[in-house]
Symmetry: none
Subunit: 216 residues, 2 copies
DNA sequence: TGACGGTTCCCCCTCACGGGGGAGACGGTC
DNA sequence: GACCGTCTCCCCCGTGAGGGGGAACCGTCA
């Protein structure tokens, strides 16, 4: 029998995208959709999906509260796959602490999305960002890796570095993280100091060389 | 004949969503997709779409620059529909100033999305407030590679880019190549223009993503 | 209670960066 | 000869980046 999935996202476009990607698979079936966390519980009770693909950032009730609510009030709850746009979204960590089984980046390729759904359906839990990071680091060169490990970046600094490595300016990073540009500058300075980099270009190079971010 | 649309968004999920929504209409046809602004111009020339649905926030070349580039370099250009998550996204206003014909919120309902495409295709421009979102780069993004291939850097420009990708400043590159810093600046500007990069950091990212330089 | 690290934001300051021009020298091609 | 691309260098100019301070809030932990 197919894996049944409930899609929860406030953007119809994202729901349509997930539906298109998942329904192309013979073993996966989209059982229903919801536009907000508040609608999830009755739908889960009614449809009893195997997996809930849940956006973290939603109006009214976000993915964290919705995750908690589902796990608390439903017997034999579905696996919860948290969907997010940003790496290192602190909402994701909260959702994982709340009991979600894995997370999924919206920029993932269709094949990766399908893979993630199958994995959580089978009871595997997807790697935490930290695990992914250390895994990736094993493939980097050891000098850069140890530099990066010694760096011991905070969550916020790591998030800023990731966005730097995507070519974003300080003000763009600020918009992404919902903070002021002065705050971003503080984090950027901390990253540069910890990595021994003179400017953001050198920091991005270090990120690539250490495997902190990976090319194609 | 159907309205042909080119989708430009860095998130595969959003592209899939737009495609699903638009292709459900008999009079609309998705001619192609691109993950980054840098890939838009050749695709527009090749496919000659009626409408380009373009995300504003993209790595390497954002929707604003891409809009400018298309309008400047293509004869009989397509209508450009800017796609965004946030209302009041200053990027959207910039894109409209750059010559975009309308904008569209990602959280719009499918019917509204279809309506917007039909309207701009007919030559109407729509300017009601709304928004979308999206960001992030597709791993293994072919846009960077093709951008690099199309770039056709001269020997000198390639040499400068290699040194940029080692973290050298303009004056250090100048010393390394035994030329003046003004000369280096000229080459750097040429590299940025050819790669569609906004600054040296984005150029270095493109160099890594395209395999022009490889991590250790 | 107090210390501390992390996050947020503010000030002032300097300067390398990158865009906009222009220009001369060289070598090929038509 | 005229033309074009490449490489070299020059000017002015605005701004984003980054350093050096300081400060407030919060949770943790001793």
């Amino acid at each position: 029998m197919p894996i049944t999935v409930l899609l929860v996202d406030d953007e119809p476009l994202v729901r349509a995208g997930l539906r298109a990607v998942l329904e192309a698979q013979p073993d996966i079936e989209v059982a229903g959709e919801a536009a907000d966390g508040a609608a999830v519980i009755p739908l889960v009770r009614q449809l009893r999906p195997d997996v809930v693909a849940m956006d973290v950032r939603m109006p009214l009730m976000d993915g964290i509260e919705a995750t908690r609510a589902v796990l608390r009030t439903v017997d034999d709850p579905p696996k919860i796959l948290v969907v997010t746009t940003f790496e290192n979204d602190e909402y994701v960590y909260e959702a994982l602490r709340a009991g979600a089984d894995g997370f999924l980046l919206k920029r993932a390729r269709p094949a990766e999305i399908v893979h993630a759904v199958r994995l959580v359906a089978e009871g595997e839990s997807l790697l935490f960002p930290a695990a992914v990071r250390s895994l990736a680091a094993e493939y980097g060169n050891s000098a850069a890796r140890t530099a990066m490990e010694r760096a011991a970046l905070t969550e916020r600094e790591a998030a800023v570095l990731r966005l730097m490595a995507r070519g974003l300016s300080n003000s763009e990073i600020a918009a992404q993280l919902f903070v002021g540009t002065e705050t971003v500058k503080t984090h950027v300075s901390a990253v540069l100091a910890k990595l021994g980099a003179r400017d953001r270009t050198q920091a991005v190079i270090a990120a690539y060389e250490s495997g902190f971010v990976a090319p194609a």
